[in-house]
Symmetry: C2
């Protein structure tokens, strides 16, 4: 494949950092990281520039002509935009079409779900539908549940440092399989997907391993030597959480904690109760299976990740979110 | 394949009749035709029973338990429900899931389009999304533009008898390819699709031939020996028609003619201007290609269909619609 210019939005976010690492490890790509004009001098972006990454301003709320200019040499455009900015991809897709982008990767990178069960996924669907109305070449990539948000706390508190959003309870009977991926492997998969003609205009599901939550608890107990209390939540519990969160959002549409709790319950219902985050359900929805496309990709096993966490050497995620949630719920639980 | 019970809704409609014919010509299927309880004694349904088709009552507005009972021996459920009843398929899909239907064919049978450009397609999408939330096995089948609504009138008026909705003008420059299918071949394709494991949980696009509207006019002139006036309509014309129809629908939401005109403009924009009703765009949206799946299916060529029409031997479609539109627009054009 000829060397190609890949544009990346959100390079300093959790998924974006992994994607950036995957792209830089692959000699096929020249990388342009896009940032808001007012963010070019932020430490995270300065750090990118210090690493030799080309940084370019892109204002998603600015005039279309300026966006088209910024995108005009980009062959592959990857959006790893923040969870609250999904709809800002609408003008981005329109500009990408005009600029002649050869493949757009809209923000996906989540668990597998149908339309109508999760408000975050549904916003993404709005973007996917616009992409298709534009006839813009695309690939939609989902990556399953991150290792980094798959573990409960240990009684000793010794793995709290690594848990962005700790698992608070076991969905259903805990025996539903779900696909797990190390966030650090996400970028490697994406580097494979975007240079693969088989994935053009397709949905692709990449993942490392399949585990049940009971198996995860068993493994954590074995590796840590601690007993982890098991609390179970059922469909009606999650549905109740959604009803309560909706009531709070009705009062205060900007209630950050209520929104996070609603989304959390919607995710748990999907992957934990209905078992939608699996290769079988992904195939049912029309996804290509990453294991069949790339059987030889080297990835971190879940077992070695758990050992890393227990030995104190892992890296946490969502530090900012964790901090915000802790502040907002202080005294509530 | 073991003999299978196929349930069919709408067997007396335009598409349903073709499907029924395709199913009866195939020895693999036992057929159950479903009808509303109050319609069982209508002439069209009596005619079905006289042909030896098993007729069974199904009330889509009735209790779920009764629907489940009616569906409980059905392996493959095909919905060819009327254009104004699309959302009645929502309770049908839910009952089909409970009844253990092995494959549901929701109403499709249209031209290929993305989401958000056609109100009829968008209602179907609501049904498809529910099907996926139910994890109900499905196949979505689109069939392109019917031969039967692809021709303009001849100055002599001699083919008026065969034209359900005559083509009034040529979309764009008339050089956009569109996929055409003889309505009479639709059932044959569907009989192939529903017994094919490759099409389970997929979208499939079946069609006969690709033609441009200019080629169609040329052919009709050659076969008839008449000169057909060519009037062209452009994107802005169709958009204006939609704006005007919306204004009338705002006043009178039940305005039947306004709704038909809006839909007509939306269809023309899609297949005639943007060129969405093609194997290439279908592939882009994720459809399987019927020509690749069933290269040996015998079908009526477009040329022989046009000869049939000009020789006075063709069968019209949408007689009821034609009558209603004529009555409603009397004196308007």
């Amino acid at each position: 494949m000829a060397r190609r210019i890949v544009g990346l939005l959100g390079a300093s976010g959790e998924t974006g950092s992994s994607i950036l690492k995957g792209l830089t490890a692959d000699a096929n790509f020249d990388i342009v990281a896009f940032a808001r004009p007012e963010s070019l001098s932020k430490p995270a972006n300065v750090a990118l520039r210090d690493k030799g990454i080309q940084l370019r301003a892109l204002d998603l709320e600015g005039p279309k002509a300026a966006m088209v200019m910024a995108l005009k040499d980009i062959a592959i455009l990857i959006s790893a935009i923040g969870p609250r900015d999904q709809l800002a991809q609408l003008p981005l897709a329109t500009a990408a079409k005009t600029a002649g982008v050869k493949r757009f990767i809209p923000c996906g990178y989540s668990t597998v779900m149908p339309v109508g069960v999760n408000q975050s996924r549904d916003q993404k669907e709005e973007v996917y539908n616009l992409v298709k109305r534009l006839h813009l070449p695309y690939t939609i990539i989902d990556v399953g549940l991150w290792y980094q948000i798959s573990l409960p706390e240990l009684p000793s508190g010794k793995i709290d440092y690594a848990l962005g959003i700790p698992v608070r309870s076991i969905p259903g009977d805990g025996n539903t399989l779900t696909a797990l991926t190390d966030l650090r492997d996400v970028g490697k998969y994406i580097a494979h997907v975007i240079k693969d003609e088989r994935t053009l205009n397709q949905m692709v599901f990449v993942y490392n391993e399949l585990w049940t939550v009971n198996q995860i608890y068993d493994l954590l107990e074995k590796v840590s030597g601690e007993k982890v209390p098991r609390k179970y939540s059922y469909a009606k519990d999650y549905e109740q959480q959604i009803v309560e969160a909706d009531a709070r959002l009705e009062q205060t549409p900007t209630d950050f904690v209520a929104r996070a709790e609603k989304l959390g319950a919607q995710y748990s219902l999907s992957w934990g109760i209905r078992g939608e985050n699996t290769p079988e359900f992904a195939r049912y929805l029309g996804y290509l299976d990453g294991k069949k496309l790339y059987p030889d990709v080297d990835f971190t096993s879940y077992e070695s990740y758990v050992q890393e966490v227990v030995s104190g050497k892992a890296q946490g995620v969502y530090d900012e979110l964790k901090h915000l949630l802790k502040k907002a719920t202080k005294g509530n639980s």
